[in-house]
């Protein structure tokens, strides 16, 4: 009996040592190749989560003072009107930068700890080690760049600060840009053009998988992806000379055009179904990649269906989704007429005689409905991976569209913008016209005939990149180049071009300050 009383003592240690199966403790992480892979894709996934969360990428770029208007939602209405102080849950959520810092913390942690795997697991070879570190650095830089565009100055944190999370004030943007530049330049040489095993930076299969696993090329950080980030960072700073260097690099040096594969079928006219070839390509030379014309340079993959955090959640409605009466956001017909007002634009145009509206290339549809429906990005669960294309009606609101940060045409137009800003008008017009010709828009001849070149370039960006999250940032760069709007300059001065920092964050971290405009 005494034994039975004391029995528990004997088994004591064993009884109380129960490993939780609900999460991984720190000791069981950073040991093997699989840990390394899961951590790397964890950083990617967090980056996607940040951009998808509450449809941030769409709302920041395409709703705030941009072309998309809300139908009935008052929170989106407030954002559209730049009333970012209004106390809607959505606005509070979007003022919170935590999701971006999750990517950054995961990246910092990765850079601090990944050497442990390298030391412990011989299968984790040097090439992968260098390549993965480069990807993570680029993703960290991308997150900082994304945040700088939205909040201006943000705290710069480059280590995980494990367990001692001290409050930090905002850091000057120059410092952040310097770090972004350094990280990206450091990463670039170690990255391949594509993860197809054909580059010295990445040989053979990547984690045992061919390129198909990764849905093509654009969803992992490649050399081109880094160039697009650099080009955009310089352009945002107003350093068009450097921006031009990297935009030009995309034009000149891209060995293969990174692309999308199945995930993107039906979007951005890069499917081989339903459209004439001329409309799918930008420059003939780029069509060779994988038989399908793919132009995505850097995108955030979806791959997993979602009902929320995908642009279709806001834009899709009848006739694309039969049961949804009206979309949450739309572009009014009037705006479309203003935007697409040159020639028979195949993206959207109206026949001057018949008054027939066409959106031949699939950008818009549902003109008989109360609100035109945005169709350009529309990937439902059943046309994902099948290449069925945007004309397939989705019967259930699960979507899989990726978030495309930059694609070839976008870069081309940025290069045109750089050249225009650097006063290389001829060079700019040459590129601009390649895009215009593609859509049946008459060529730009001269400022005398067609108005200011910069305006034309930005008009083209607006038409081409609608719904891809560029409108607001383009607007800011445009205003900065023009530098003729005192009201807008004041907005820049007082921080009004940025988003307010969430009040919750300020109450949690008193070292944070609000820009005067949002006080």
């Amino acid at each position: 009996m005494l034994i039975s009383l004391l029995l528990p003592l004997l088994g004591c240690k064993k009884i109380l040592d129960v490993d939780s199966t609900r999460a991984i403790g720190d000791v069981n992480m950073w040991n093997t190749l699989e840990d390394a892979r899961a951590a790397l894709f964890g950083v990617y996934a967090l980056n996607r989560a940040a951009m998808s969360d509450n449809n941030r990428h769409v709302i920041y770029g395409d709703i705030r003072l941009a072309d998309f208007e809300p139908t009935s939602r008052l929170d989106l209405r407030a954002i559209h009107n730049n009333m970012l102080n209004a106390d809607y849950k959505l606005i509070n959520d979007l003022s919170d930068w935590r999701p971006f810092y999750a990517t950054i913390n995961a990246a910092n942690l990765y850079l601090e700890r990944i050497h442990e795997v390298y030391e412990k697991d011989k299968r984790f070879v040097e090439q992968t080690y260098n390549l993965d570190r480069a990807q993570v650095k680029a993703l960290r830089a991308f997150s900082y760049f994304y945040m700088c565009r939205i909040w201006g100055e943000v705290p710069l944190i480059l280590s995980s600060h494990e367990g001692s999370f001290t409050n930090k004030p905002r850091d000057p943007q120059d410092r952040i840009f310097a770090v972004i530049e350094q990280d990206l330049l450091e990463a670039e040489p170690k990255l391949p053009y594509a993860y197809d095993g054909n580059d010295p930076e990445q040989t053979g299969l990547y984690y045992g998988q061919g390129i198909g696993t990764y849905y093509g090329l654009g969803y992992m950080v490649s050399k081109q992806a880094v160039w697009t980030m650099l080009a955009h960072m310089y352009a945002w700073k107003g350093d068009y000379a450097n921006a031009a260097v990297y935009a030009q690099k995309i034009m000149d040096k891209t060995r293969v055009v990174s692309g999308s594969g199945a995930a993107l079928a039906g979007t951005f006219r890069n499917t081989s179904v339903g459209f004439p070839n001329a409309l799918r390509t930008f420059i003939g030379a780029w069509t060779r990649a994988y038989g399908v014309e793919q132009t995505v340079l850097f995108a955030v993959a979806r791959g997993e269906f979602a009902t929320s955090g995908v642009i279709e959640e806001l834009t899709a409605a009848e006739p694309l989704i039969p049961n949804r009466k009206i979309p949450a956001i739309y572009i009014p017909l009037d705006s479309l007429f203003t935007m697409y007002n040159e020639g028979r634009d195949s993206r959207f145009s109206m026949d001057s005689v018949t008054k027939q509206v066409t959106s031949f290339d699939g950008f818009f549809t549902g003109f008989d409905k109360p609100y035109p429906v945005f169709r350009k990005i529309f990937v439902t669960w059943d046309n994902f991976g099948t290449g069925k294309g945007i004309n397939i009606v989705g019967d259930f609101g699960l979507f899989a569209s990726p978030i495309v940060f930059s694609r070839f045409t976008e870069m081309a137009l940025l290069l045109a913008e750089c050249r225009a800003a650097l006063n290389d008008k001829e060079g700019a017009i040459a590129i601009l016209n390649q895009v215009r010709v593609n859509y049946g828009v008459p060529a730009y001849i001269s400022e005398r005939d067609n108005g200011p070149l910069v305006d034309a370039i930005f008009k083209e960006r607006r038409r081409e990149l609608v719904g891809e999250g560029w409108r607001w940032y383009d607007y800011v760069r445009f205003k900065k180049i023009k530098n003729n709007d005192t009201k807008f300059n004041q907005l820049i001065q007082s921080g009004g071009i940025y988003w307010p920092v969430s009040r919750t964050l300020i109450s949690q971290n008193p070292m944070l300050t609000q820009y005067p405009y949002w006080k």
Partner: protein
Amino acid sequence: MHSQVKPSGKEKSPINIGSRLISNNSSKGGLTYLQNKPTNQYRPVKSKMSSIFLELTVLKTLFSNEQTMRIIFVLCVFLLKFLNPAIAIQKVQSDTLSNKKPLEDTSKVLIKKQPTKSKGPQSVPVLIKSYFPANSIQQYLKGNVSGLYATEASGEPGTYQYMFIRGTSTPLITQEDVLKTQPLVVIDGLPVLSYENPYVYDIQRPDYSFNRIGPSTNLLAGLNIADIESVEVLKDLSKTAIYGPRGANGVIYIRTRAGSATSNMSFNSSFGVAAKPSVTTLNGGYEDNFRQRFYSRYATPVQLQSYPGFLRDSITTKYYGESSWADAYYKNALIYNADALMSGGSKRATFKFNVGTQKSSGNADETSLNKYYTSIDLNIIPRSWIVVSANIKGTRLDRNRNRYNRDRLAEIGYLPDLTEAPAPNIDSYNSFINEFDKGFDKNYNNIANGFLNVAIKLPLEIDYNTRFGVSYNEGGRDLFYPSTLLDNSNYASNYFGLSQRLVYDNSLNYKITLKSKHSFDFSVGSSIQWDKDRYSYSYAYKGVSDYLKVNLLKAGNFNSNGAFKDQLTFKFLDQTATNYLSFYTATTYSFKDFYSVSLLLRNDGASNMQPVHRWFFSPVLSGTWDIKKHKLSKSPVISALTLKASVGRIGIAQLTDRISLGTQYASEAGWTNELRIPSYLNTATLMRSYLYGYLGYDIPWSYNEQLSAGASFGFLKNRIVGELSFYSTTTKNQLINIPGAAEYGYSGLFQPGMDINNKGVDLFLSADILKSAAKKGFNWNSSINLNFNRNTLKALPGGLSEIIIGDRKLQVGQAADQFWVLKNNGIYNADDQVPVNPATGNKMTYKGTVLKAGDPKWADINGDYNVDDKDKILTGNILPAVSGGWNNSVKYKKWDLQTSFYFNLGRKVLNQNMANRFNFINLEAENSINSVKEFTFWQQQGNPALYPTYNPWSPVIPYRSEQDLFLENASFLKLRSISLGFDLTDKLLASNKRATRFKSFYVFVSASNLFTITSYSGRDPELVNTSGTDTGYGLSLPTMYTAGLKVDFK
């Protein structure tokens, strides 16, 4: 964290990254979501995967139904051996048994029935004589025990009901917080599983978590009320400490009816009805009228244009016609119970066998709970020095749930276009039900509790007691919604979860009395508890046909060519285990009958605490002084007076085993509204638990420090008895997730150091106001029980003085259950009424947005001409300051009349239901789960005249619920039950000589939930969640009328 599992077309074994199984929810046609190559080039590491699979196999065998059956079978065989009549007829002197006290309070070794008192100080078991047709322990105890506050947020039978003993030790913010504060339920000495594990909330969107995935059934509805002999609510450490960390929130000790040496049969049954309520229904005309005042006053032409479609056409009868849905929605529903008990035996062996059924019904939406139960209780004394007892109880619960659209859509996780409202006519409701009935919603729980106890008397007055117990629960939900209910997509889901607790207790007790004055009682004991939980859950959209409802979602049966497509099937599984190990020693010294002092020392180890803080030491000192016996034995007035006091501390059990990991990684690749995504580009991911919060190391036990003192007393030959006790319990070192560290990616940091104090008074008073010795006389007993409780937040981690978590604010020095709201002072009728800051010339703003005509006049507490969170005030309490009951029993001749009142005082409710009604512009526009309309939308549920007409389009959101405009006093007094009984025994015996087999024959009628007196303008003030919010959901608590009989046979 959850795992998501899905076998893919190509390969059946999903790779394991870390120790989780993750697989495809991907949409990619032929590709394997997780690329586990057959070459095994990347082998799962450290056999994490194989260990999982091994464990799964083990679990499968261990946790299957057969296992429970096996345990029960083994117990039965064991018992039958002892039931051998040859042993049973051996003669022993009966007094050797009946005079012995049980070795410990909790075991049931006495064959002689424990005397139960119908009244008296509450520290002894109280027989609650109530004819309330309770379906759960919570309902049974509500208003009957001082210090126990039982909530009932819905009249739907079988839904969760939470109990709080002497307040709450933690702010009730998450579901886990609520479960963390629940008392331990002990049935005949076995600590049973009393709620479903909250771990599934990890895969539920917080804003969709109205219901837990699975059957979501109150496990305490599984106990047979008719089988309860007595319930004792243990509140002081002197009584609860013996149950260790799980009993830190108090213990509800339930004694079921035991066998008796004389053979006995009894039969209880009652039938009744849950009555249809009378409600005022509304139609489109009413709603149109309601909205017109906003449209006519504030709407711009654009806003006028977007007048909701369903109200636009006032000619059609769909919305503007008769509002008759309630005729089908509310129905009189049958309730009944039938219970038979048989007991018998000899002096050496007794048994009890009990079988019964109960149907409880709500009065709305055809909700009901069907219960089938049986129990066997055996006591055997094979030798004079050994007593063997065994008890097995089994219950089956089948629940018919409500059919709220909101709950359905939250389960599906998909929102269709919600602009339309259901039409308020009966045809619309019936056709909805017709469609609904093409699917199914099966909810079941199987509950089994059993133990085997062996008590052995050793020489030298040493007693040895050993007990092995099992508490087991499995529950499932099989669900199918036809495509007609949602965007042409049907939906199927399947949940199966089980929980198992094994208990192995041993104790030794030694008693010695010196010179018949001093007596010592020593005991030592140990206890081991193994808890294990596991679930698997899967769901799928868009099956090929509404007629193909076969459940193809079970693991192993998956077939991508089957009824549900590969890409639209989602699977999850999770498991958790926690073990406890405890040692204790208790010493009691008594001097005559006058004083006694006890010291309990215990050491508890829990596997879910981190290795360096695995053990916690708790001492408890308690004493009693019987003044009556010691000093007042001759007093004619005072017939009983005992003082009691105890002081000590006890560790508190944590619910999650994630604490033991410290810093941790999980697959949290999702984002707001899409939390369940585990992967990126076909590849499993691992990241820190940014969404869950940062958990570091060095997390100590949290514990209760309690001081309590009280007296039980009796006056005038115990015509008046009562008990009064004071207590102060400080719950220290609580772990709380403090929002912060956003710049490090985390949503919050878990930090220990929150202290909350609960102070209060429990009072129980019972008086025989009229007492007559004669059998035919008039007797009237009146008793009142109440608890006054207030909590105070004493400290926050790291010396913080306040933290804000969502819409709650915790401030040191204030109560932890307060509402945090804006103070509303009316309306600005014109723009020039908005105050202007003389310093800047700017108008008053709400968070930077200038206030205008039609906006609320919110108080600017800090005077900075900007209304924001700093101007919110802490006010009102979620939990009542005073709660209790007032019971009366009147007896005259063979008649008896009982009434039972229940009251809550000093408690507020946030009427979100009304706020939502007024906030229709925002809610309808956002097409969120909050925009979902039910048929009950067409029911008058509050008083719209109480609220000003604000501009509902205003960006300040005038009808936001967090303002005192919607905060109401929700104190109430309720007549919970009234019953009239008649004892027919004598009549039967007199009229019929053959009726002598009857020992007693009693019939009664009762009515329950008859009326409520309250100032609350909404529905029943009880229908609120644990955040004190009346969401408008929750079915009404039905008025029930029952008639029944209780028959005892000789």
